[in-house]
């Protein structure tokens, strides 16, 4: 039976680069897919594009492409990635320039656009899912609105002979679903197969998170070779069945446990995994270990897409100021608590305009609160105060009130650190799928 082999070259924007090169050189893959666009990344990229019209794509695009373009070209491996972020055309042009520098003439590079719905969302009457208010009420605080596009424009680019496809926002699994649809000629209303292809994408999209990354728990769940973690390969059959494996000799582990953890990662109702192309149903998925570092997944299906697209709306929400300082040795906890009291009192006394404040002692109760942390006295504690404000100037004052603990607070504070930053937050709206008009543009090296 004919199969197609997909490699996942990145699970997030900052991911390791050499595992992707390993896949290109030794993975015998047909496609190398880089998923690099977190929820907020595209909003930050849009801000970068406003500062520089030639910018706004993934800052690691050049490093990744420089590593893999030549080995992929030599083996006929095609690349699909959402590293275009807010500017897929500029990203495609940069890739073209790089290809020419590397002496790779004739490379066909496609940019997928049409996910940017900023004007439509600003003008329309769409309600934000999280807060229940109209998106338009955010006014000029909105910096981006990008729809999660489906696989279709990527399939079109591949059918037109693209060696590299660079997109902005698309559903993460669609980056993988598209090559499968292209290779096997699946219909875009074959819901069962699209559901299976979506499972393939979902399993692979976080790269090392299925090969033993984000999994090790010494003594309970041991994983060899995390420093040389291999990234996953999905071997997909025409019926949508997938086998997950990795390059032999690479670090990590592929077991039923690693695959099950990834199956449910960021999934809510497993019978209704909402994607632009299909509603995936993973509720009856079965997994089988069929060899060392090799797991087969079967039983996914799907139902018709909803006809709505999720749009991530990025907006300037607020500012956060933060400060930290450490105390150690006998009495560290009491000094940390005293320091927190001092900072609280100072923020009130100096009238810092806060809309929200959070005070933690790292090492004691910072992650999950007093009830779950319970009782033990640590050797060292680190105070952390974070507050929300309406302006950057106010946010700066929070960290300052932590820093002044040096000469004004309890004994022995060390390692003070402070920051103040603008918060670009993300909420989402649903829009009719017909509102987005995906386009494919080619640049040729």
């Amino acid at each position: 039976m004919r199969t197609v082999r997909l490699g996942a070259g990145a699970g997030y924007a900052g991911d390791r680069i050499e595992p992707a090169l390993e896949l290109a050189e030794r993975g015998e893959i047909d496609y190398l897919v880089f998923e690099c666009l977190a929820e907020r990344t595209i909003a930050l990229a849009q801000q970068a594009k406003l500062r520089d019209p030639e910018g706004g794509y993934d800052p690691l695009l050049e490093a990744r492409m420089r590593a893999v373009l030549a080995p992929c070209r030599a083996r006929g491996i095609r690349i699909v990635t959402n590293m275009g972020a807010a500017n897929p055309i500029a990203a495609a042009q940069r890739t073209r320039t790089l290809a020419l520098d590397l002496g790779l003439a004739g490379l066909r590079i496609a940019a997928v656009t049409g996910d940017d719905l900023l004007d439509a969302v600003r003008a329309g009457n769409f309600i934000l899912e999280e807060s229940g208010v109209p998106a338009a009420s955010l006014g000029n605080r909105i910096v981006s609105a990008n729809a999660y596009l489906g696989a279709a424009p990527i399939v079109a680019a591949l059918a037109d002979g693209a060696d590299v496809v660079v997109t902005g926002r698309v559903g993460d699994p669609a980056l993988f679903l598209a090559p499968i649809v292209h290779e096997f000629g699946w219909a875009l209303d074959d819901w069962k197969r699209l559901g299976r292809g979506t499972l393939v994408g979902h399993l692979l999209e976080c790269a090392g998170q299925i090969t033993g990354g984000y999994f090790a728990d010494p003594g309970c769940k041991d994983v060899p070779g995390l420093a040389r973690l291999g990234f996953p390969i999905g071997i997909v059959a025409e019926d949508g069945t997938v086998e997950i494996t990795k390059v032999e000799g690479s670090g990590g582990r592929i077991s039923l446990a690693t695959c099950k953890e990834q199956l449910l990662y960021e999934v809510h109702d497993p019978a209704r995994y909402l994607q632009p192309d299909v509603v995936g149903d993973f509720s009856e998925v079965e997994m089988e270990q069929i060899g060392p570092d090799r797991v087969r997944a079967t039983g996914a299906t799907g139902s018709p897409a909803t006809g709505l697209l999720k749009v991530s709306v990025g907006y300037v929400d607020s500012y956060i100021g933060e400060g930290q300082i450490s105390y150690a040795g006998a009495g560290a906890l009491d000094r940390g608590r005293l320091a927190l009291e001092v900072v609280r009192e100072r923020l009130a006394f100096t009238r810092v305009a806060l809309t929200e404040l959070r005070c933690d002692l790292i090492g004691v109760d910072a992650l999950h609160g007093a009830a779950l942390s319970g009782g033990r006295e640590p050797y060292e504690v680190r105070l952390r105060v974070a507050g929300r404000t309406e302006t950057l100037a106010e946010a700066v004052r929070i960290g300052n009130e932590v820093e002044t603990l040096y000469t004004n607070g309890p004994a022995g504070g060390g390692g003070a650190w402070k920051s103040a930053r603008e918060v670009v937050a993300v909420q989402s709206v649903l829009v009719p799928a017909t509102l987005a008009r995906p386009r494919v543009q080619f640049v040729e090296a």
Partner: protein, 111 residues
């Protein structure tokens, strides 16, 4: 016994909602997990952290339960003041839950 002895977990985030997948090491323990790790117990465990409800989805074919925790991420990953804004460490906190010992409950059942 601690839940950690029978199951492992992974946490994911979407907006202000966290999901924790709880997976039995041995699929034979799935029924024990289903009986004792109820949405109500999970809600009680995380009462200091979350503001919404807990929904539980069952995946018996892989021996897993998926818990969806609404209002668990301090107003949302992209604006939270929390140190762990994504709530990545919540799954480890769930494994600290006390559940009845597997063997002793079997004995009770037989008796």
């Amino acid at each position: 016994m601690k839940l950690r002895a029978l199951a492992h977990s992974r946490t994911g985030d979407k907006g202000n909602t966290s999901n924790i997948a709880l997976i039995a090491y041995d699929i034979a323990d799935y029924g024990h997990l289903e009986a004792h790790v109820t949405p109500e117990r999970v809600q009680e465990h995380f009462r200091e952290i979350m503001t919404g409800e807990v929904i539980r989805y069952a995946l018996p074919k892989i021996g897993a339960l998926n818990f969806v925790l609404k209002g668990a991420l301090g107003g949302g990953v992209t604006r939270s003041l929390a140190l762990d804004a994504h709530g990545k460490a919540l799954g480890s906190a769930l494994l600290d839950l006390d559940i009845p010992d597997r063997a002793s409950t079997d004995i009770v059942r037989i008796a």
